[in-house]
Symmetry: C2
Subunit: 403 residues, 2 copies
Amino acid sequence: MQTKIDFKQAMNILQSQNITTLGVERVFLHDALGRVLAHDIYAESDMPHCALSNMDGYAFNSTFKDAKSFRILGVNQAGNAIPTLPLDAPFAIKTFTGAKIPQNADMLVPIEHCTLIQDTLSIETLPSIGQYMRQAGDNYKKGEKLLSKGTRLNANHIGLLASLNQVFIKVFARPKVGILVSGNELLELGESVSLTQDIYNANGHLLLAKVLENGGIPKLYPILKDDKAQVKSNIECALKECDMVITSGGASVGDYDFITALCKERTKEVIFQGVRIKPGQHIVYAQFNSKHFFGLPGFPNSTLVTFELFVKEILLRLLGTKLKRTTFKIPLSFDIDKNDTRLEFRVCNVRNKEGSFSIDFKDKKDFQSAILNNFCPLDNAQVGLCVLDSAKKSGEITEVILL
Amino acid sequence: MQTKIDFKQAMNILQSQNITTLGVERVFLHDALGRVLAHDIYAESDMPHCALSNMDGYAFNSTFKDAKSFRILGVNQAGNAIPTLPLDAPFAIKTFTGAKIPQNADMLVPIEHCTLIQDTLSIETLPSIGQYMRQAGDNYKKGEKLLSKGTRLNANHIGLLASLNQVFIKVFARPKVGILVSGNELLELGESVSLTQDIYNANGHLLLAKVLENGGIPKLYPILKDDKAQVKSNIECALKECDMVITSGGASVGDYDFITALCKERTKEVIFQGVRIKPGQHIVYAQFNSKHFFGLPGFPNSTLVTFELFVKEILLRLLGTKLKRTTFKIPLSFDIDKNDTRLEFRVCNVRNKEGSFSIDFKDKKDFQSAILNNFCPLDNAQVGLCVLDSAKKSGEITEVILL
């Protein structure tokens, strides 16, 4: 077990874990949106299968390119079989966009570059051989790799898979993620505020939605009281039922921090406990019963930030893909104070104005740890984490992680 | 009807349309992820409701701050009612993180800043009044606006809504979007290739997935033959059944372009036809029977790009929200050729290396219009559209729209 390590060490530890995906399932193409592809996809044939026209025009054989006029033998639209009319004289076949290029034709003159009087065509601007057409295999060739295992499928990929006649797609199974929050002060939604309980369970629903957004299957357990036996038995149950377990709360150093107590009993399974960052310094990563376990802090901001920084690294690999962060280097237009020696991830607004990015802290409240509304700007700003190793002066470059 | 307008004009026309959302529905909190909020959300009470401790420590009244020692009267954990033990002498109450600050206490000394010998506390570093605690309303005050109508809800918003005990959320209804593709050469997935039909319906499934990604409800109609009556009657049917209709194919100037033919018959309802861009110059935007209609080109690349540039503008406003594009200004490290006078949106790779962005055209095939695999890079690059008004030299700045 490593304790109070720095952020880079923690990332190295997470990234070096040997992580096994959860098997493969086949889903219908439309249900594959957002899922992770479980194998490489190769082209089974050339695309297009044969030469096709890219324009509406007239196809002919280049032997006769200098002929004064051509006789039109027929009309060839997309969806016709390859025309086999002889093109052994100054003959041409009207050939529409997407239609197959007729046999023995190697030139296509667009309708804009010729004139047609009755059935007789004269060419004004001669095309080069093969111009305005695609040859067999121009999109891709048989055997070419088109999609990589581990790709999280978006609409563009769905379109490509459809073009390949892929009806059922092999994707990685989604990990089941158990979510447990603890705290005597917490109420479930719909319950009434009392003198003792007056904080609604934000973290449970926040984590559920984060797990959904990242492709996992969340399982929300009942709110735990600050009771050691209850915390232990519910975590045991979640470890049995899920592929990953996340707790929120109880990870600090107080008398009622039963996640911390649990870690003391199972030190051999704890990978790290405590990272020198703000917020979230008490974070725990363990492998209890060989299942991934994250003990996140209970303040909502800290829960959210540690999910983004740590949990996603493992969750996305369990899903068979990898976390891709969007980070910016942004010059500051103001000073930033900082009193703490820990590396800080301070929530900020990210603004994109005509291609340039800037950050600010407009409407961000102090004591960020407890304040979830800092992540919900009212003015259409995007949300980022400003990475602060020290105080910064206006003009200095700062790193920002886009959330 | 305006024809062959420039891109800016087209955008202005789309953005100036008066668009009505489709009514409001109430969905359970977890189902609100990705939906668009239909009203502003205000705080119904101060948060926190009363002063809370941010640390594990000891609470006392500052009148006695200079006392040499304090007697501990009790223990106060999160979820307890506000302690009312008298603090009218050098008395202190052990108060854990998240616990309510005891009546008459205005100072909290963290456990790290004091020593406890038996039941007697001596303070080493005196806190200031109110330090290490949050006051009522520090997160937000009663009546404060917390979320705006039109917000597309992500996991952070779900967490905030949970903290507000919002179980059912009012969101805008999702528009139903009819998707029709036409072409004699097209096969539906699962059908067998023949001498005449050998192109699978990529565009229909691409558009379905794009509509899903953007929050609409797609309705895929059967593939249309290049048959005027069939095209017309199916579009009529889709206009009845859907809030928006998108077609792909048949919008060029050829004999079998029946979308173009339809527009000729209904010119009064066509808002614009033809935009001077590449790809996608034949795009149509109309309001047929007062429903939004987009006639997109049939080449998959052109379909995809025109969906991104034009359809999303209207679709997201029908959903009650607004399109937010991420654009970059990126200095080029190579020359870009361009022979066409139209404004071009050329698909490119966008790479983020340690906070700096660059673009390239690695593995992008020529004649982009037909080639969907250009949007599916194999090497983890993001996909963008490089906006080209002219050829560019290395070092020049170019605008890139992230897809």
